[in-house]
Every structure is written in C-alpha cells, then in structure tokens.
C-alpha cells in the first residue's frame, strides 16, 4: 500500500500513531513492511491457507462475535442434505462435472421445505463459468430464499456454522507454516491481534489489491476474507471492512458503468440468448424478488428509457430486444483468441495497452497483427499502436511489417486536465474534475470521440431493421466550443437520472418500473440531485466531520460505508460508544448518525416482513445486507459462484509444490485455454522450479505509458529488474547489477539483477522455495525515456472462473544468468523450455 497507494497509506500511519497494530503480508518486503509492526513473508498463491487458518482459529476457539454473527449472517441457516464438502470429496464440492469442468450448484442450496429450485432458476456454477456471471453480484446478491430454515443454537451439523467449522478444521497453524512459509509464532501473533481487536469496542480492517484478485482462485480469496470479517463482526462498521485498493483512477467507475462484456451499468447482467426470452423472462432469472435487488425492473427499465427515450414503451418491452445477446464468454482473453482465429476484424483500444499490459503479450500481438483495422487512442504512441513496426516478433522473424495487413489509426487523446468529467475512486467516491485548458492539436477527449463517431454513424443509417437501435438511440448532447465538445455535465445528468417532470432525481428509491423515470446507471442515481453536480462539491475536509459527506459524492445515495446498519446492534443501538456510526433514533423514529444510513430511514429495528412481501419490504429491521435476497452476510454462498460455496485452498495453475490438502491440485473450474498460443508450465516441473510474482513500483504506472515518458520518474526507476534473494543468486549464479534471463513456456525476457534480502527464500513442505519478483512497467515504446523487456510476456493465460481475471500473481519460472538470446536463438531456447 505504501508503494502503490502512498497517499492513502497516510491513514494507516495515522491509525498506527493512535495505537493500531499494522501487519503486512506479502511475498516481498516493501516500504509497507518497513512501516508495519510485523511483516509476514508468504509464498505467493497460498493466502487461502493463511486466511482459512485464521477462520479455524476463530471458530475452533469460539472467538466469533456471536451476537453479530447470529443476527446478521447466515451462520444459523441449514444447508441441503445433498451438499458434500471438499473434505469428503478430496478437493471437489458436490455437483462437479469433470466433462465440462463446471459445477451444478443444486446441492449447495439451503435446506427448504419445498426442495431446491428448479434447474433453470439456479444461479452460479456453469452459468457463471459461461459468462463471468458473478460480476453482476457487484450490487445484487444471488437469489436465495429470504426466510430459510435455521438453527439459532448453531449446533445442527447441517447449519452453516458447523459446516464452516468442519471445512476449515484442517487449516491449522502447522499447515500455514508448511504451505505459506509463515512461522507458527508469527501466525499466532496475527491471530491473537485480529481477534483481540474485533468485537463491540474495536474493529479490524483488511486491505488488499490485485495480489488477491489475480489468481485462479481470486474471487475465493476475497470470500475467505469476507467470512473472517463477518465472523469477527467487522463488516458495515467504522474501521472495519475488506478494502480493495484499486489501481487506476476510475477502475471502480469502469466497473460501475462498465465497458465490460457481461454487464450493463449498475451491475445489471447483459441478456443471454439462451437464458432470456424477453424482458419479463430476463428479470425473473436475474436474481431474487426480495431485498433491494427485487426492484431491478425499475433499474433496468429506467436504463432502457435513458438509452431509447420515447421509442421505449411498455408495449415493446422498453426496447429490451435492442440489447445484443451474449452466448458465453466474450471476455478480453477470449477476444484475443478470436483475433488470432480471425473472427474479430476491428478493434478499438482506448487508454489501454494490451500489447504489453495484458498476460501473454505474444498472443496479444499476434491477435493485433491479424486484424483488419485497429483504432488506438492514447497520449503517446503505445506499443499496441506500433507493434507492426517495432514489436519483438519482428526481431525474431515471426512477423514481417510488410506482411501485417492491419490498418492502424492512432488518435491522440486529451489528458485528465484537458477535459472535464468524473473519476470514481477506490471508495466509490465520484469526484468531478474541472477542465484546466484545451487539449493541443488533434487531441480530443474520449467523450468527443465516441460522441462524434456515434453522430457520424447515425448520419449514415439505413431503414434496415439492424439499424433501428442506432436510429432510435438518444444521442443529442449539447456541444460546446469550436471543437464541438459534448457537455460532460449533460452525460452525468443522464447517468444520474430524471423523473417524470424532467427534473433530476435524488435517489434510486425514486426509480419506477413503468417507464416514467430515466436513469443511465441506477447506483449513480442522485449524482445530479437538485440539478447540482454533486460530484463537484468541494467543501474542505477541515470544515467537515471525518466522514466528509460534502466532498464529492459516493454511490449509492452518498453513503460512505456500505451496509452501515450493521454498525448498530439488532435493537438499533451502537455496538459501543466508541464505534457509534449509524443508529436508530426512537424519538424521531428514524435511522441517523454520522453517515447516510444504508437502510430505509423509517424502517424500525423491530420491523418484521409480512408474508409474501417483496423487495426491501421482505427484509426485517435487523437485516443490514439489503442487496442480498435474505439481508444476511453470507458465510456460505449457496448460489452465485462458479467454483464452490466456500473457499478451499488450491495451488496456482503453475506451482512448484503439491497440494497437501486434497488430491485436487488446482481450482477444478479454472478457465484454461488449451491451444498452442497459450502454453503452460507443468505443475511441479523441475524445468520451472521457482515462484514468479509481478508487481508495481511507486515510481511507475501499469505498462509504463503514463510514467516512462516522464523524466523524473524514468530517472528514479530507469530499468527493468528482477528481485532475487542472495541464496537464489548463489544457486543460479546471478550477480547484483548484472543480467538475468527469466523463462516461462510463454517467453523469456532479460532484466537487471537486484540481489536483496527483500525476497526471502521460504521453507515450504520441508524444502526451500525461491521466489522471483518482477515489476511489469517496461516495454519497447510508449514514448518511454526508458525501455525494457515485457514482463507480461511471461504470464500464462489462465483465469478465475467467476470473473475471468488472469493469474498474474503466482506462477513458475526459471532464471538463468546473462542476457537473453536474440532472433532465432531466442525461439530455439523457448522451444527447449517448452518441450523439455
């Protein structure tokens, strides 16, 4: 955090100054480690063992926050008799189909009188494996029954609490030492600290980043942390939570208003051709009827009205059929394979640089070389725009410029100070940027580009039916200045929504399912409340409470801590004075506090839902997790995941060690591309004995296009290097400051050697495991004052089955002294490693 989010880290230091204890768990000693109370080096890819052992410590010693757990989680819920755990099936949960390598989640469901729901209604498992379905639960939970059978004594062997206890029983401190390389004494200190620091009076926070997500079990890493935090009562409370430190200025916004294949704005699923017949059918299949997600008709209809305006009517399902249909995985890596196979003809790359920034760089570039046309928009000539004249495959002779038929348009982009608009930061906060000056030359905002491209396309439409969604699209934003820049405020206002009177809406609770409201992204509804750009609010922090509600605007409804109803006890009183945040005011009969309550303001703690209630009315006054269909925090996920209802430790796809817990070595549902363009290192291969992990440096950003051209930053970190321990350096023959060649079956690259105690050899399964650290900021172009080999070329294309994120944080490699060969010799050496 101190390296990659330095200014955010000031708050960790503030907390430390007030007595907080800071632990840092990382394969590599960093600036964060230097400032922490304790540093725990860990083998990359083994975090579920560590977190699972913490869960086991809590459950085995009865250290959970019982009142919180009973009231706010599904600990008491009974699970179907058909469910079988990994502990019974040697690493598989019940429902696995080895043919398709997908799960049928039927047996994971809650125990119900009516039996499990019919097949076509079930969520998770194979559906998710087909289209990264879990993404849509970014705001809405899967559809579990709102009032399942429970055992409040938590003693029934089929209740979630007991299932968890059995499941994690083998995750012991001894196993942590053996698998993670963390000493038992260090584990004990961590376990003692987090349990002592949780409960009524205290809360503990976890902070993570892509070190947890970029794995074939990435979603389950976060699930493990969620279980731990729910057991300790650390969710929805100040000082608690599991905080994702996202790495790009508006990567949160890019998910909320997604340019992602499987979701629409506000985490509404893109319709699927073989699952959804029409609007009603879609809505029926896309979640439960209870909880706030039960209002999804209002959210979707308001979006369709924002896009197709008057053309969207009740009679035509509000133009629902204008939405193109998914039929499976259309994600980034599959798209690259489709480029190589020739079905993708045209590609827009906007502020992104997959030629060096995505896993398997060689596959990315072969894909680019096989396009008909490519549009690249960026500040500099990024490698994705120039691969045809200076890519590494020209040097090896695999590609020749004259043979590459791709037509390339490079359009220069406006910088962040040359346009106005909002970023959504890592805490869901929208902040408006004022424009400082006009962009130079041909540089334009992406808003300008897409608006004018749409305008030109719409001028050339036919009467053909396929053009109807474009003809009827609302595309009439006011233009400004000699460049005819569309007004970003007008776009933001459309996102924020308007009511039947045409006035801006205040909150998503005002959205209607009848087509009378329009809203481009329901979770952002209210960002233009009172016709004021709420994201532009700038009341200085020192003039506000620490919550700072008048700086920017956080979705939803300007709430700064999600699910903050859980900061009060079931009766609505703060758990303690010290941790008071949101509470029930009995005199005024409403929720109040330091933040906007993430709860219906007037719903009393003793509210009980009547029989047959829908949406939020079906949740009790003690159900804080209002997006979930049962209002509970899920310790066990009966639906909604592709790879199991609970996390289990699996080794990374490429690992030097055997999984001691199960015969199942790696996540059985992980997404693999079995084709020549996507080779893998075999597990436990002596050819690739070392663990490789990638990361960022403070002084650079992503693949370098925003940092390598900057003189100050280039001087601070001039050259690609790999970090190795003195022991590994001695074993391989590496010299500090000299050169090393790092090899995987994808490629081999050269880097300067940094021999350092920052990367420690770890004792794992009674042998020494060496890890190699590699920052990934270099490439050959991007206007860089410094250049270097592409670390991402080494990475495998193997994905988490829930969200299709690649495993770039834990793989295997070999390291050789000296520089890499050039030309044909490089290919020969690659072949040698690939086939042994």
């Amino acid at each position: 955090m101190a390296e990659c989010h330095p200014v955010g880290f000031q708050w960790v230091m503030e907390a430390k100054a007030r007595g907080a204890k800071v632990f840092h768990v990382d394969p590599r000693f960093t600036r964060t480690s230097a400032m922490a109370d304790a540093y725990l080096p860990i083998r990359a890819g083994s975090d579920i063992v560590l977190l699972g052992a913490l869960i086991n410590h809590v459950l085995g010693n009865g250290l959970d926050f019982r009142e919180y757990v009973l009231a706010y989680t599904n600990a008491a819920t009974l699970v179907s008799e058909d469910f079988q755990d990994t502990e019974e099936l040697d690493g598989l949960f019940s429902g696995f189909d080895p043919e398709t390598r997908t799960y049928d989640p039927a047996s994971w469901s809650y125990d119900e009188d009516g039996g499990p729901e019919p097949d076509e209604r079930r969520e998770g498992g194979r559906r998710h494996a087909e289209a990264a379905g879990a993404d849509r639960y970014g705001s809405g939970g899967a559809a579990a029954p709102s009032r399942p059978r429970t055992d409040p004594t938590l003693s029934d062997p089929r209740c979630v609490y007991q299932i968890l206890k059995r499941h994690f029983a083998r995750y012991t401190p001894e196993l942590v030492e053996r698998m993670c390389g963390i000493r038992e004494a260090d584990f004990a200190e961590l376990a003692e600290a987090i349990t002592a620091n949780s409960g009524r009076e205290r809360t503990t926070a976890w902070v993570y980043s892509v070190g947890w997500t970029q794995h074939t079990v990435g979603a389950q890493y976060i699930r493990t942390a969620s279980i731990l935090q729910l057991l300790l009562g650390n969710m929805g409370r100040p000082g608690g939570g599991i905080m994702a430190l996202r790495g790009h200025a508006s990567i949160q916004g890019s998910t909320d208003i997604p340019t992602l294949f499987n979701i629409l704005p506000g985490y509404l699923s893109m319709p699927h051709a073989h699952r959804h017949e029409g609007l009603d059918d879609y809505l029926e299949h896309e979640g439960g009827e209870t909880g706030f997600w039960g209002n999804r008709r209002a959210y979707l209809v308001s979006l369709l009205k924002a896009w197709w305006g008057e053309a969207a009517t009740e009679a035509n399902d509000f133009c629902f059929d204008y939405l193109p249909r998914m039929t499976g995985d259309h994600g980034h890596y599959t798209t690259v394979m489709n480029q190589i196979d020739g079905t993708v003809k045209g590609y827009f790359v906007v502020g992104e640089n997959p030629a060096v920034g995505s896993s398997g760089g060689r596959a990315q570039r072969f894909g680019l070389a096989n396009l008909d046309w490519l549009v690249v928009r960026d500040l500099t000539l990024v490698e994705t725009a120039t691969f045809w004249r200076d890519g590494p495959e020209l040097e090896t002779g695999e590609l020749r410029t004259e043979d590459i038929a791709t037509e390339v348009f490079f359009l220069p982009a406006a910088s962040h100070v040359e346009k106005e608009g909002t970023f959504t930061n890592t805490q869901r906060l929208l902040q408006w940027r004022e424009k400082a000056l006009d962009p130079p030359g041909d540089c334009r905002s992406d808003l300008w580009f897409y608006y004018h491209l749409g305008k030109r396309i719409r001028q050339r439409l036919t009467e053909d039916e396929i053009d109807r969604p474009l003809r009827e699209l609302t595309w009439d934003y006011p233009e400004e200045g000699e460049r005819a820049e569309p007004l970003a405020t007008a776009v933001l206002r459309e996102i924020g929504g308007v009511g039947p009177d045409g006035r801006a809406l205040s909150a998503y609770t005002q959205l209607r399912p009848d087509g009378s409201t329009r809203c481009g992204c329901w979770i952002y509804c209210g960002v233009y409340a009172d016709e004021v750009n709420q994201a532009a609010r700038r009341r200085p922090g020192r003039e506000q409470t620490p919550v700072a509600p008048e700086w920017g605007w956080a979705w939803p409804a300007n709430r700064r801590i999600l699910y903050n109803r859980a900061s009060a006890d079931p009766e609505g009183r703060p758990w303690s004075e010290r941790k008071a945040f949101v509470w029930w005011d009995e005199d005024r009969r409403e929720w109040t506090g330091l933040d906007v309550p993430d709860f219906e303001t007037g719903k009393p703690p003793d509210y009980l839902p009547p029989e047959g209630a829908k949406a939020q009315d079906a949740l009790a006054g003690t159900d804080p997790f209002i997006m979930q269909s049962d209002g509970k925090g899920w310790l066990y996920a009966p639906l909604g995941l592709a790879d199991g209802p609970m996390p289990a430790h699996y080794e990374p796809h490429e690992s030097p060690v055997r999984n001691p817990l199960y015969r199942q070595q790696a996540n059985p549902a992980r997404r693999i591309y079995r084709r020549p363009d996507s080779p893998y290192n075999p597990p436990e291969s002596p050819r690739f004995p070392y663990v490789l992990t990638t990361y960022r440096l403070t002084e650079h950003h992503t693949a370098g296009a925003m940092s390598r051209p900057l003189a100050y930053l280039a001087e601070l970190q001039p050259e690609l290097f790999c970090e190795v321990s003195p022991q590994l350096a001695a074993e391989v023959g590496l010299v500090n400051g000299g050169w090393a060649t790092i090899v995987t079956s994808r490629s081999l690259i050269e880097a300067r050697v940094l021999v350092t105690g920052r990367v420690r050899p770890l004792r794992v399964q009674d042998r020494v495991i060496h890890q190699v650290g590699l920052p990934y900021h270099w490439g050959w172009g991007s206007g860089g004052l410094v250049t270097g080999d592409v670390a991402n070329d080494l990475l495998p294309i193997v994905l988490d089955p829930n969200v299709y994120i690649q495993e770039s944080k834990a793989m295997t490699c070999h390291v050789r002294p000296g520089r890499r060969p050039r030309g044909q010799a490089l290919l020969d050496l690659m072949e040698e490693y690939r086939y042994g």
Partner: protein
C-alpha cells in the same frame, strides 16, 4: 550595492543558512502558483486513491500541478507520480496529431482528424454489416462479433457511459476494460 551580495555578506561572517543566503533576486522570486492565470480543481489520474490536484495554467500552458490541501482524502499530498503529473501533460513525447498506417505499410502517414473520423466510421459500418449475426442456434442475438473494444480505467464515467451505450446500440458485445485485468 556590492554589500547586498549574499556571498560578501557571508564572507563577512553572516550565517549563510539564514538571511545572508537571500539576494535581491531570491526576494523577487514568486511561486509559479501565484502567477498563474487560472487554477482548476482536478483529481490525480494514476491510482484510485483519488488525491485532489490543483492545476495551474499560465499563458495557455500548465505551469504547475500541486496537491489540493482541501481534499479530505489527500490533505494536499501527492506521491511521486502525482507530483510528476505536470510532465504527464507537457512532456515532448506526447503525440498531438493523428497518424495512419495503411495495410502492409512500413511507415506512419499523417492524416487529418476529420478524414480519420470518416474512415473509422466507414470501417465500423462495413465490418458491422459483414459480420452481423441475427441469430445463434435459433435464438435472436442481434450482434456483431467482428468489432471489439478494450478500454483503460482512467476513462471518465461519462466516457465509459457513451462507449457502452454506442457499442451496445451497434451490437458490439466484446467490450472490455482494464477492470477485467
């Protein structure tokens, strides 16, 4: 006059770390931020902490970028990247003109923006029509699998919104973002 020289004052025994270090020139120096024509309230474009930036403009150029002390998130601080971000917008390696590479071409060629926009419009419409898929295994899909998009996560919300809206109306479904990666 010479007696005002900082060096002479220091040679005479005055403390060179205090007032004797000052000269008439240093006394006349003013911070760039004070001489700016305008200042815009902005946000750092690197990581997702969202530090406040103040962007100072003088004579039509960015003259300085500083942390915004009003921000309750950053309290005026910026990291090495945020502090260097004036160079991000002013460095000489920035491309400011459209470039075109024809199929099999060996060099970039200049192209004016309007022509580029028209050519891209042509390509989109042509590819869309050539790769249009109305049905898949008997189900209506109404899409093109011939056009794909990949966006970075430093795009504004408003930009992402127009992109998703236009791509969806075009029937382009392979629309992805850094957020996947």
């Amino acid at each position: 006059m010479f007696s005002r020289w900082s060096l002479i004052r220091q040679l005479r025994g005055e403390d060179g770390r205090r007032d004797a270090a000052r000269s008439a020139r240093t006394d006349a120096l003013r911070p760039r931020t004070e001489r700016a024509d305008t200042v815009a309230r902005s946000v750092c474009p690197y990581c997702a902490v969202g530090c406040g930036q103040l962007v100072y403009v003088k004579d039509g150029r960015v003259s300085q970028i500083e942390g915004d002390p009003d921000s309750p998130i950053s309290r005026g601080r910026l990291c090495p990247k945020g502090s260097a971000s004036k160079q991000l917008v002013t460095h000489p390696g920035r491309q400011t003109h459209v470039l075109y590479r024809r199929p099999h071409g060996t060099e970039w060629e200049p192209l004016d923006l309007d022509t580029a926009m028209e050519m891209i419009t042509d390509r989109v419409l042509r590819t869309r029509r050539e790769t249009w898929q109305q049905t898949d295994e008997g189900k209506v899909v109404r899409r093109t699998m011939g056009i794909a998009g990949m966006g970075g996560a430093t795009l504004d919300n408003e930009e992402n919104y127009l992109m998703k809206k236009l791509y969806t109306a075009l029937g382009a479904i392979q629309v992805e973002n850094q957020a996947r990666i």
